[in-house]
């Protein structure tokens, strides 16, 4: 068996050297596929960009549901949209026990310190957020006024936008919790025209109360708050997700088609071109299995060469439109290429095994 495989590879090498033309043709084909791929990708990228700029103009509102922790999409959303400048969080977004008050889970960020300058612990330093529980604050002997500076580990202090005591968070909490955000730079006349804030609320009905409180803080400095509906948010998020998934799927389909196409093409072209060889080999005593092995090894070797060249073209095309860290799927491309090179040549193997030596030998 190894003899046959080795000779198949040897045959491929001899043939490849013999036909520079074949290689050039394959190269051209793969180059074309790579270009198509790169273009379809840049379309996806453009779509994503437009969605991002859309995002910077909305105040995103989201119902928190009964998830006690930050929803999983939260971090990615904030990462993805660097235009997001603040987060308003209402409700139990953490399962961290608040030992100081002994009252069970508190919001993710707890207050330390006192007086004018408060520190907020456990805050993701990337997020300009403060979540204040006024009753907890009271029990801790702290008082926080609207406009107070809130310091978060190492970050520039933020300012508390508003405090309200009227929002019911969750049935088991059954008490007012005010949870308001700061803006990373503080909020004043120099704040940017549009501030995008993610609002996490337990109930959608809380949105209006949050909005009106935000408005009362923001209006004095000449900024407005616009709220988009939950449905819009969901649609927006879906669009982003669908775009991303679509892009990935499209990439996969294009790459698979290209690689499989090339292997198939090579297999079938070589299969037809070599039909007389198959007949001769059968006449010389190759069993159907021998022939299948020989042909498979040979066409797969050629396909591998072609597919490697093609993959290189795809990588080049991709690297020209994407940063490297977005190309984590490239190793999979390699594995896919290997598999498809082997699979794509199977029709040639079938073709070969069907060859009738006598018929072929009779053809002049």
């Amino acid at each position: 068996m190894i003899h046959l495989l080795i000779d198949g590879v040897r045959a491929a090498r001899e043939r490849l050297l013999a036909s520079g033309l074949g290689v050039v043709a394959v190269l051209a084909f793969m180059g074309g596929m790579a270009t198509i791929l790169a273009r379809s990708d840049s379309e996806g990228t453009a779509l994503k960009r437009s969605l991002e700029s859309e995002a910077s103009r909305v105040l995103e509102v989201r119902a928190g549901g009964d998830t006690p922790t930050l929803p999983s999409w939260f971090a990615t959303t904030v990462d993805e949209f660097d235009t997001v400048e603040g987060v308003v969080s209402l409700g139990p977004v953490s399962d961290v026990d608040h030992s100081e008050t002994g009252r069970g889970p508190l919001p993710l960020w707890s207050i330390t310190g006192g007086g004018e300058l408060l520190g907020v612990g456990r805050c993701d330093p990337r997020l300009p957020v403060a979540v204040l529980d006024d009753r907890a604050l009271g029990e801790m002997g702290l008082s926080v006024a609207r406009g107070a500076l809130v310091e978060r580990g190492g970050q520039p202090p933020g300012r508390v936008l508003a405090i309200g005591g009227s929002t019911r968070i969750a049935p088991e909490w059954n008490r007012p919790v005010a949870a308001y955000t700061t803006c990373s730079s503080g909020l004043d006349e120099e704040s940017p025209e549009t501030i995008t804030v993610l609002v996490l609320v337990e109930n959608l009905s809380d949105v209006s109360s949050v909005t009106s409180q935000l408005r009362s803080v923001i209006q004095p400095i000449g900024r407005g708050v616009s709220v988009i509906s939950d449905a819009d948010v969901i649609r927006f998020r879906n669009d982003v997700a669908v775009a991303a998934v679509d892009q990935r799927r499209r990439n996969l389909v294009t790459v698979t088609t290209a690689l499989l196409g090339v292997s198939l093409l090579i297999g079938v072209v070589m299969g037809i071109a070599r039909k007389p060889s198959f007949g001769r080999l059968r006449a010389l005593g190759a069993t159907r299995a021998d022939l299948a092995l020989l042909v498979w090894a040979e066409t797969t070797t050629v396909a591998l060469v072609a597919v490697s060249i093609g993959s290189l073209a795809i990588v080049t095309a991709q690297a020209s439109v994407h940063p490297w860290q977005e190309l984590s799927w490239l190793p999979w491309l390699g594995i896919l290429a290997l598999i498809l090179a082997g699979v794509g040549t199977l029709p040639a193997v079938v073709l070969a095994s069907l060859t009738d030596p006598v018929k072929v030998l009779r053809q002049p």
């Binding site: 003899h3 080795i6 000779d7 001899e14 001769r280 006449a283 005593g285 030998l361």
Partner: protein
């Protein structure tokens, strides 16, 4: 009783399709070890067909083909293929070389099928090329060769696994006189060294070399 190296077709009938005419009916023929048997006959009388039957590429509708007394015409496909690879050297009319492969790879095809170690096959190939008087680099591609050169390479390929039986279908059909002489020399000396050689030809040159000539009638 059939001896070693004896190739015999007994009462063989063959038709290409069930409804079609019989190419021949109840033909018997025997080639002995060390013999150069020549099959002649008009074009279309079924010489190639008979050689394909003897070469185990076709199965007779009736009758049996034996090699050294062993009936192989009814053996399983795989067994027939193996026997063909190991014990039969086939020379095709037009050399049938793979032009995009090297001379060496062409000669070694049966060796690969017989799992002969590469090193050994290369050595044998080199010796055979010397014996047929070809002074070509083995790593050269089998392209742009003269008919005589190609047919001598094909002969080396037929002989590389030291087969007991050599079957040739009009091996000198397209050759000039000098090439024909070289190829026939080789076939004759193969018979002389104890192989069983069956050649299909209507050439007088070939018949002149035959131990025995059998005329096939359509």
């Amino acid at each position: 009783m059939s001896g070693r190296g004896e190739l015999e077709a007994r009462n063989v009938s063959y038709r290409y399709s069930r409804a079609g005419p019989a190419v021949f009916d109840s033909v018997s023929i025997r080639a002995r070890r060390g013999e150069l048997l020549v099959l002649t006959g008009p074009s279309g009388c079924g010489k190639s067909t008979l050689l394909f039957l003897l070469g185990l590429m076709l199965r007779p509708n009736e009758g049996v083909i034996t090699f050294g007394g062993v009936p192989l015409s009814s053996a399983r496909e795989r067994e027939r293929s193996r026997f063909r690879a190991r014990d039969i050297g086939f020379v095709f009319q037009d050399a049938a070389l793979d032009r995009s492969r090297t001379i060496l790879s062409n000669i070694c095809e049966p060796a690969v099928l017989n799992r002969v170690p590469r090193r050994e096959a290369v050595r044998t190939a080199s010796d055979l090329l010397d014996q047929v008087g070809l002074d070509l680099p083995m790593c050269r591609r089998a392209d742009g060769l003269s008919g005589g050169q190609a047919q001598r390479i094909a002969l080396c390929r037929a002989l590389i696994c030291n087969p007991q039986f050599v079957l040739a279908d009009e091996p000198t059909g397209n050759l000039d006189a000098e090439s024909e002489r070289l190829v026939l020399d080789r076939l004759q000396s193969e018979a002389g060294s104890g192989r069983t050689v069956v050649v299909v030809s209507h050439s007088d040159q070939v018949k002149a070399r035959a131990s025995r000539a059998v005329e096939i009638r359509g």
